[in-house]
């Protein structure tokens, strides 16, 4: 059993590394592996290819890994907390909050100072604020409600409210602003430059750090909240930490890349299927590797047509069949 896990981890790590390199090489201008190596080792850092590689494809590939890892780990935590295999990282309404923030900036742009709106940070700051507001509300509620299902319903309601507000805004906006917003909801990995990476990376690392810190408690939560209490787990504190970590991971990624559908639901199931375990200390790194690989694959696929496809549609095309398979298998 131990050996099997080790082999799986090694294979997945190599797969992820391979996909990472392929993602760097692939694109409208193919870059050979030799060129990639020479750019990385400081030789031939001039020329257009090295510019594309270092300032465009490298941050994009790293973002793909971060997004896949974050959404998958957040999805795993949500599925354990709610003991529901269809829970996803967006279930607490964090991404709806982010999209409300973005919608406000895009569609109410005439009211805001031009300098703010035209800078790339405007959307990100708005998304972070939107996600944080919902997160704070959900955390507040998590101390009030007695069981996780109530928290789930409240999260869904916050999401619905945010969604309706976005619709109201759309109703009053001009078509250009709506198109801009719709483009944002398609998700894009390439929006993250090195500047943004300095914020995104720590946010993701903190979120994943909290998740790893909670791995033993998450195992206990599999039994249900009352049994978990009986095992000495402080439910309020654990729930609070899970909500915070999920908010950081899902909210952070959504703010920088837009929503990416289905990865958070599908990947924990892939990891459970591969490793045949319920233990979070194995599932956690497993979902990170699987999630990162899946998003890298999606990104590579989205580069195949001459016009780059939005990442959100590709991930949904991959994720939806997996969810159907889960439902059929569960019967």
């Amino acid at each position: 059993m131990k050996n099997r896990n080790l082999i799986l981890f090694l294979t997945l790590s190599l797969l992820m590394l391979g996909l990472f390199l392929a993602d760097l090489a692939w694109g409208s201008i193919p870059i050979s592996l030799r060129e990639i190596v020479s750019v990385f080792f400081g030789k031939g850092t001039e020329g257009i290819n090295s510019e594309i590689l270092l300032n465009f494809r490298l941050p994009k590939a790293i973002t793909a890994i971060l997004a896949g890892a974050s959404l998958s780990v957040a999805g795993l935590m949500m599925q354990t907390l709610f003991r529901n295999s269809l829970a996803d990282p967006y279930i607490l309404g964090v991404s709806s909050g982010a999209s409300l923030g973005v919608a406000l900036v895009m569609m109410a742009a005439s009211v805001l100072p031009v300098a703010f709106v035209s800078s790339g940070w405007a959307l990100i700051v708005a998304a972070i604020i939107g996600a944080s507001v919902v997160l704070v509300l959900v955390v507040g509620v998590s101390f009030k409600v007695h069981n996780a299902v109530s928290l789930l319903i409240v999260g869904l309601m916050f999401g619905t409210i945010a969604g309706s507000l976005v619709s109201v805004l759309q109703n009053f906006s001009n078509p250009d602003a709506i198109k801009l917003f719709v483009m944002w909801t398609f998700g894009s990995l390439s929006a993250v430059t090195w500047n943004y990476m300095q914020v995104l990376l720590p946010v993701v690392l903190i979120g994943i750090g909290i998740a790893f810190f909670l791995q033993k408690r998450l195992d206990g939560l599999l039994l249900g909240e009352n049994y978990a209490r009986g095992l000495g787990i402080s439910i309020q504190q654990t729930r609070f930490l899970i909500v915070i970590a999920t908010g950081l991971l899902a909210g952070g990624i959504t703010a920088f890349t837009g929503p990416i559908a289905f990865v958070g639901v599908a990947v924990p199931h892939i990891a459970r299927g591969l490793f045949r375990t319920s233990s979070h200390k194995i599932l956690m790194p497993a979902t990170i590797l699987c999630g990162a690989s899946l998003i890298l694959v999606c990104d590579i696929i989205s580069q195949i047509p001459t016009y780059t496809l939005p990442i959100n549609t590709i991930s949904a095309l991959f994720g939806a069949p997996i969810i159907i398979w889960i439902i059929l298998k569960k019967r």
């Binding site: 033993k216 195992d219 599999l222 009986g230 000495g232 459970r272 375990t277 319920s278």
Partner: protein, 332 residues
């Protein structure tokens, strides 16, 4: 030796302005090495008492102490080292084997990373052996029968290595052989491991046989404790379950239904067949009265009703009602 004691404990629910007291002034003692069954009618506070004792719910007043430590002042983790729980919630974990499930019981003892050391492994295997699930140790818990699943949950509680185990209706949803087996297992565990085991149940007859001590809870008289037989002798059982529609039969520890009985009949004869004959007659509405007009003699292989031989209960009942109608004194 008493390991858990309650002092003027009052249980119930309190919402903003309204307090709903279910039981008050409870002074209970739980002793090591004993199996205690908590029984009582629905709504008398069985689950509330159990939830309060385990610390899942706050008492309205009074206190519960274990080994002199007051439970409401303990941290969650400290409680987990004293009381292990088996609840009614169904546990469904994808990919978890019996071993994985039982190893979760080691949770309060293991370090942050939750590694299973050789010593932990030994305790887990021992717990699984105690509930006789060795042959299923690597089986997925979703593939277990209900009885095996309950035994696995008990093994998890054993692995937690606490002086007290509390179980909420551990025999619900199980068939008779499994109910008996679980109760005997718990009885044996209490005596062998010197743990105090407290469980709530609806199975009166099994509880009366397996429990070392009964906590009889009722809305009127609070909680009465004692050896099962004593509670039967002093009539507490009957009072607790008093109802118009059935009576507690102190002769065999069962409940008998109270049928409306309007017709008189006189029965004598064979003792072993008598019990079942009386049951059938009671259900059909006949009261046994000495020297009644209709006389039934119970023989070794049949009945004689007013000098007529009858071989089945069904015939007996048909013939009896027939004769009643003919006699004209009674309406059907």
């Amino acid at each position: 030796m008493s390991i858990l004691t309650t002092c003027h404990l009052s249980i119930g629910y309190s919402k903003k302005r309204k307090t709903d007291v279910i039981q008050s002034e409870l002074n209970l003692q739980l002793r090591a090495g004993e199996l205690v069954c908590l029984i009582g009618p629905n709504g008398s506070g069985k689950s509330t008492l159990l939830r309060t004792l385990t610390g899942l719910q706050k008492p309205l007043s009074g206190k519960t102490s274990i080994d002199g430590k007051e439970i409401s002042k303990l941290k969650q983790l400290e409680k987990a080292l004293l009381i292990a729980l088996v609840l009614t919630e169904r546990v469904d974990i994808e990919n978890a084997t019996v071993y994985n499930l039982v190893s979760l019981g080691r949770h309060p003892h293991s370090n942050w990373w939750g590694n299973i050391t050789e010593k932990e492994d030994l305790i887990i295997r021992e717990a699984i052996e105690m509930v006789h699930l060795e042959h299923k140790i690597h089986q997925n818990i979703n593939e277990l029968s209900d009885g095996e699943r309950q035994r696995a949950m008990i093994a998890k509680a054993l692995a937690q290595n606490t002086p007290i185990i509390m179980l909420d209706e551990p025999t619900a949803h199980l068939d008779l052989p499994n109910r008996v087996e679980i109760m005997l297992l718990l009885h044996k565990l209490a005596h062998k491991t010197d743990k105090a085991i407290l469980l709530s149940t609806h199975e009166l007859d099994i509880a009366l046989q397996a429990a070392d001590r009964i906590w009889l809870i009722s809305s009127e008289k609070g909680v009465e404790c004692g050896v099962p037989e004593d509670l039967v002798f002093n009539g507490n059982f009957n009072r607790a379950f008093e109802s118009k529609s059935y009576v507690f039969n102190a002769a065999n520890g069962n409940f008998s239904m109270n049928y409306p009985m309007s017709r008189d009949v006189w029965v004598t004869g064979d003792k072993t067949r008598m019990y079942w004959t009386l049951r059938a007659l009671a259900r059909a509405g006949y009261k046994v009265v000495e020297d009644a007009q209709f006389r039934i003699l119970v023989t070794e292989n049949g009945w004689i009703l007013n000098e007529k031989n009858i071989s089945t209960v069904e015939q007996l009942l048909v013939e009896l009602s027939h004769q009643y109608v003919e006699s004209g004194n009674y309406e059907l």
